[in-house]
């Protein structure tokens, strides 16, 4: 808005250059005169339409003259037009600022929604067993509350994507734990380990006996030995990998206890 209390030159100094109304009107009149002259003297204009061109020119000139008259008649006319321009400019600026703010807010909302969706997805993937991690993951998005500064969007997105990865890995660990359980039981048991070594050997011995007889068993003795050694080595390696101590042979029940009962 224009400050009416300030001097006109101060007002002008504080604003951008804008042509005065008078200059606009004069320019308008000159253009009108030039166009009329052009229309009148142009060869392409038929002589029959000259009165029409003359009438239009007169109308333009009358409009220009009336504007000049208005401008002269009311001294504050140009100021009013300037005010109008100022208002229009202010409104446009406000609209731009609002639009920009809306755009930033929308983008921020979109980003926040993306990050929250990823964290929520991670919570769903983690399952009931790891449900306690949901709050932990959501809290991580706030960064270090003591510093009072939120992590950047890229950092939060990275954290949220990492949470999804963590959820999948937790589920995979659970499944792997479940799958290893019978193997661990077998490796930790003396009888189970023996069974794991002798079962394949016994099965193959039976097959060889049924197909080739006792002679086949002798000819395939080296293969049977390799199978037994491989099974034994596999158990040893798995015990080391799973960090399971070699089980001790279970003590046999003494026969004296049985005899005392009798």
């Amino acid at each position: 808005m224009t400050d009416h209390g300030a001097r006109p030159d101060e007002q002008v100094a504080g604003r951008r250059f804008r042509p005065t109304l008078r200059a606009v009107v004069i320019a308008y009149g000159l253009v009108g005169v030039a166009s009329i002259a052009g229309m009148t003297w142009q060869v392409s204009v038929p002589h029959g339409q000259l009165p029409l061109a003359g009438g239009l020119a007169a109308l333009v000139m009358m409009c220009a003259a009336s504007l000049v008259f208005l401008a002269r008649g009311r001294e504050d006319f140009s100021e009013s037009v300037d005010e109008l321009f100022d208002e229009v400019e202010t409104v446009v600026k406000e609209m731009k600022a609002e639009f920009r703010a809306d755009l930033i807010e929308m983008r921020s909302m979109g980003r926040t929604t993306l990050v929250r969706s990823l964290t929520r997805l991670a919570g769903l993937l983690a399952g009931r067993r790891h449900s306690h991690l949901r709050d932990a993951w959501a809290a991580d998005l706030y960064g270090n509350p003591e510093s009072g500064q939120l992590p950047s969007f890229s950092r939060r997105r990275q954290m949220a994507a990492g949470d999804v990865k963590a959820a999948l890995r937790c589920r995979f660990d659970d499944a792997a734990d479940l799958a290893w359980r019978p193997v661990d039981a077998l490796l930790a048991s003396w009888r189970g380990s023996r069974l794991a070594v002798f079962t394949p050997v016994t099965v193959i011995m039976t097959l060889v006996l049924s197909h080739e007889g006792f002679y086949g068993l002798i000819t395939n003795a080296d293969n049977l030995g390799v199978i037994a050694a491989a099974a034994y080595a596999a158990i040893k390696v798995l015990r080391k990998y799973r960090q399971i101590a070699t089980p001790k042979r279970p003590e046999r029940k003494t026969s004296s206890a049985d005899s005392s009962e009798r």
């Binding site: 306690h132 932990a136 954290m159 999804v164 290893w180 039981a185």
Partner: protein, 116 residues
Amino acid sequence: MAYPGAMASQQIRMTTPVRLVLGALAHADPDDPLWGYKLTELTGLGSGTIYPIMERLERRGYVSAKVETPPPAGRPPRRFYELTGTGRELAASAWKPRARAAATWSSRIAGQSGAS
């Protein structure tokens, strides 16, 4: 009754990320416990690596977790992690072989430089 392989579940594979996490937890101030975000900042590991390790350590009793109290306003409560007694032993043993190897190598290098 625990299944025969229960012993195996108490063990944890000592990888470099596990060592880093144990080191960070061992050096943490008891009055200022660590949580997931802080651990990622300290170790440089992603949350996709940190949380499975924390779950494994917690399940095996090396780490205890507690939810932030009182619940803060305007954000979810954090989950603080602390080493237990066995966890401290594990953290101490985690860096021993490396420290021994480093000492051996540094003594060798010092010996070589002294000889030359």
